[in-house]
Symmetry: C2
Subunit: 105 residues, 2 copies
DNA sequence: CCCGTAGTACGCTCCCTGTCGTACTAACCG
DNA sequence: CGGTTAGTACGACAGGGAGCGTACTACGGG
């Protein structure tokens, strides 16, 4: 089974998290994960970019510590690291998600 | 008197705010402003960059809607747009500031 | 009026990031 | 084994952003 590197909770850096969340495509991913679509494969997110670009965005999110990814067959299950982010930067993720979707979610 | 363009409250874009706050130098500025140093001139922030780069960062913050600037003589007084940001993206600025300075402020 | 101070404008690098395409690997399914 | 599916690796390219230096402008003070 292949493995993927994830930063430890203490290693999550504000710089990287903010940069990661500054991209609209990546916020789309995060919003969908937050919206109860945890454990979705990358392919399930209908992003307006090609597969390789998609891979890139998922990696940025993972390396920033925003999501976690684990293999399951040929697919990857994506999860939002809500607890870790809430522990490291309380309120940040919530604020960004709320900012993104002002009309209830 | 010269004037400077500021985005209207409704025009403040999440993309730009997050990008602006993703830079450590700009977060330094924001943190100092939040720390009771409102109305400081640009020169008062001892930043590890030259004047022209400094100008650049202040402009990015202003155009993102994070700070407001107004001329006073040859200087510019900088203010954090706390209320506008809190209104547009509730909790966001607080979360970033708290994340930056975990040991009390 | 001249000078100093504070900031801007502009041009220039360099590097990083988003995007793509193509070729590849890993896992599962017949 | 062969094929399909999901994702990766890698190279190329364009654009933007941070950084600098130099030359300039606006304001206030002597």
């Amino acid at each position: 089974m292949r493995t993927l590197d994830h930063p430890d909770v203490q290693e999550i850096a504000l710089d990287q998290v903010l940069s990661a969340l500054a991209d609209p495509i990546r916020r789309t991913i995060v919003a969908q994960l937050a919206d109860g679509h945890d454990d979705q494969a990358c392919i399930a997110f209908e992003l307006p970019v090609t597969k390789s670009t998609s891979t890139h965005h998922f990696r940025v999110l993972r390396e920033a510590g925003v999501i976690s990814q684990r293999y399951r067959g040929t697919a990857i299950l994506n999860c939002l690291r809500e607890d870790d982010l809430a522990h490291r930067f309380p309120g940040l993720l919530d604020a960004v998600l709320a900012a993104e979707a002002p009309t209830g979610r």
